[in-house]
Amino acid sequence: MWTRFRQIFFLVLMMTAVQAAKGQSIRVSPDGTVNTLEQALALADSNDVIRLQEGRYLERNIVIDKPVTIEGERNAVVDAEGEGFVLIVRADNVTLRNFEVQNAGISFMDDNAGILVEEAKGVLIENLTLTDNFFGIYLSKASDSTIRNNTLIASGERETQSGNGIHLWYSKNITIHNNTIKGHRDGIYFEFVEGIAITDNLSEENLRYGQHFMFSDHCTFTGNTFKNNGAGVAVMYTDHVTMTGNRFEHNWGSAAYGLLMKEIRESKVYNNTFENNSVGMYMEASSRNRVKHNDFINNGWALKVMANSMDNQFVQNNFIENSFEVSTNSRQNFNIFTGNYWSRYMGYDLDRDGVGDVPHHPVRLFSVLIEKQPEMLILMRSLLIGMLDTAERIMPVLTPEELIDKKPQMARIQ
């Protein structure tokens, strides 16, 4: 009996010890003793858990300067009422989970954000809803942190009055997974970051870019969908980017690109789908990139490669039903096209090895003409244009002679 009692006593002791190490829990509710997040943070010690009960907390510029966890109940909302920041994280190992952050103020002086993380490590932001904030989640000089399963929705109408969804500046080793970003200026924005993994996010209907990043080497994008953004996705001034399995869809407009690459070097673009964009992929001053196993379907222009791009390899991609396959601004070609499937290919395969016997010229005369005189677009699908294209294909005069695929595939590559 006594031993049994001692065992139970020991167990209880252990549990209390664990509880103490984990920190105590502070409840915040609108009609309780602690009724603001600010009060709770003042009371809290390191490793405490602050539990937000259901309700609306009208607070702004809340500074979190110790490692705490803030967990919300259903319908727990922190609202800055359109002025200043909502939450500012300045401590390591902070966790924010399951609540809603609203109305960080629009400002032309400050980058007001729903959640600002400043010089912190090990921050976890998950299952949050951020509604109508100027900037959504803003990481500045942060590292080793995770942003996952959040929903960021803003309803900005003009670029100047809208901030970025997830904004990273001088940060390292951040994982951004399974977020939905809608209606911001840029869905995801990076500058001077390194080693970031962006996976399975959905970025749609943003005013400018679905994703926009510069000076950010060694980043990886996998399985994201960028849809219906004002200008698609832009990656600039960066080396060693890996983009795999992403979808770039429905980016329409005179300056909209599924993926715009400017001064990108030694990067990999594998297994992506570019569908229904005005321009699927645009490449400028980029070199030594490998573009492989991508599907370009139903775009106005599948590829626009400017002549200042060199030594890029376009291998085993599917080009299906694009109005124009490749367009460029020079008669020279410094890139390699081989083993792609082109739905406009008109050649034959006598030896039946699945590879066309005559090379494919993906640049049509008409696309060269349009590059010079865009008004000619209205002549598309005219019989005359068809005849000119055929003549040019047989005897190239204006199109780049070297830009050919010597091994065009006869069937779509799976």
Binding site: N277, Q373, E375
Partner: protein
């Protein structure tokens, strides 16, 4: 009422000729092959539209001229009857355009229907393509009648004019536009291009096809200007009234000639 009687006579006559059935069969086989081997419904419909833009005007023109020449005795016989010329002309025009349009719609439509492509591509797109095909048939039968009546006794001349007018509208006109654009490349030409393309019925039909299938390319650059024009209510009304004018004017001119003609 009298016109309808003539339409029904011609209907029988045309089917006895087998040419019309052949015309429908060509579309049937072509469309079927396009769907079977071309891969994918929207692509088949796009190829069909390309063929339509090429063949419907040509066949309608030639048929229009030839039919008038062939049925000379028939026309002269009917003119001896108590029958006003207006209903006779309406009967002849209707008697050719209705079977021709029907041959196109049925011939190209059946494969779309039984393979289920029309569901895949959307009813609107299919309706646009067929609508344009019918409009082109109406226009070019009218133009064919016009040439046939004008050169009623000089058959080769009438036939030649019909062919040249097709060549002009289908190919040379676009060449002139191309020339114009490259000559005046320093000026903003979007509006002029819209004006020019509205004047040519084949171009008008072609733009209708573009708006259905190449919308992504049209969204870029200058395309946006065209798209905004033809996509707007005003643009649609202008394009449509131009098509109607193109149907009405040759037919009306033909009727005038027919009324005055001394057979």
């Amino acid at each position: 009422m009298k016109a309808l009687t003539i339409v029904s006579y011609q209907w029988k006559d045309l089917f006895r000729d087998k040419w019309l059935i052949g015309y429908a069969l060509i579309y049937l086989v072509l469309t079927d092959a396009l769907i079977r081997f071309g891969g994918g419904g929207p692509k088949a419909l796009l190829s069909l539209s390309n063929i339509m833009l090429l063949f419907v005007p040509l066949v309608s023109l030639i048929y229009g001229v030839l039919y008038l020449y062939q049925s000379r005795e028939f026309v002269e016989l009917l003119l001896a009857q108590p029958l006003d010329r207006k209903s006779l002309f309406a009967g002849l025009y209707g008697g050719l355009t209705i079977p021709l349009s029907l041959a196109f719609v049925v011939g190209a439509g059946l494969p779309l229907f039984y393979t289920g492509v029309w569901i895949q591509t959307g009813f609107g797109t299919v309706a646009t393509v067929f609508g344009l095909g019918i409009a082109l048939s109406l226009i070019f039968v009218g133009v064919g009648f016009l040439f046939g009546l004008k050169y009623f006794d000089e058959r080769v001349k009438g036939f030649g004019f019909a062919l040249v007018s097709w060549l002009f509208l289908a190919v040379l006109y676009d060449g002139l536009v191309l020339l114009l654009v490259s000559t005046f490349s320093a000026y903003p030409l979007e509006k002029a291009m819209i004006g020019l393309s509205v004047l040519n019925p084949i171009d008008l039909a072609r733009i209708g096809v573009l708006l259905e299938f190449d919308i992504s390319a049209l969204m870029g650059y200058t395309g946006a200007v065209f798209n905004r024009f033809f996509g707007s209510y005003l643009g649609f009304v202008i394009a449509l009234s131009c098509l109607v004018l193109w149907i009405a004017v040759p037919a009306w001119r033909g009727l005038n000639l027919f009324n005055k003609k001394d057979f």
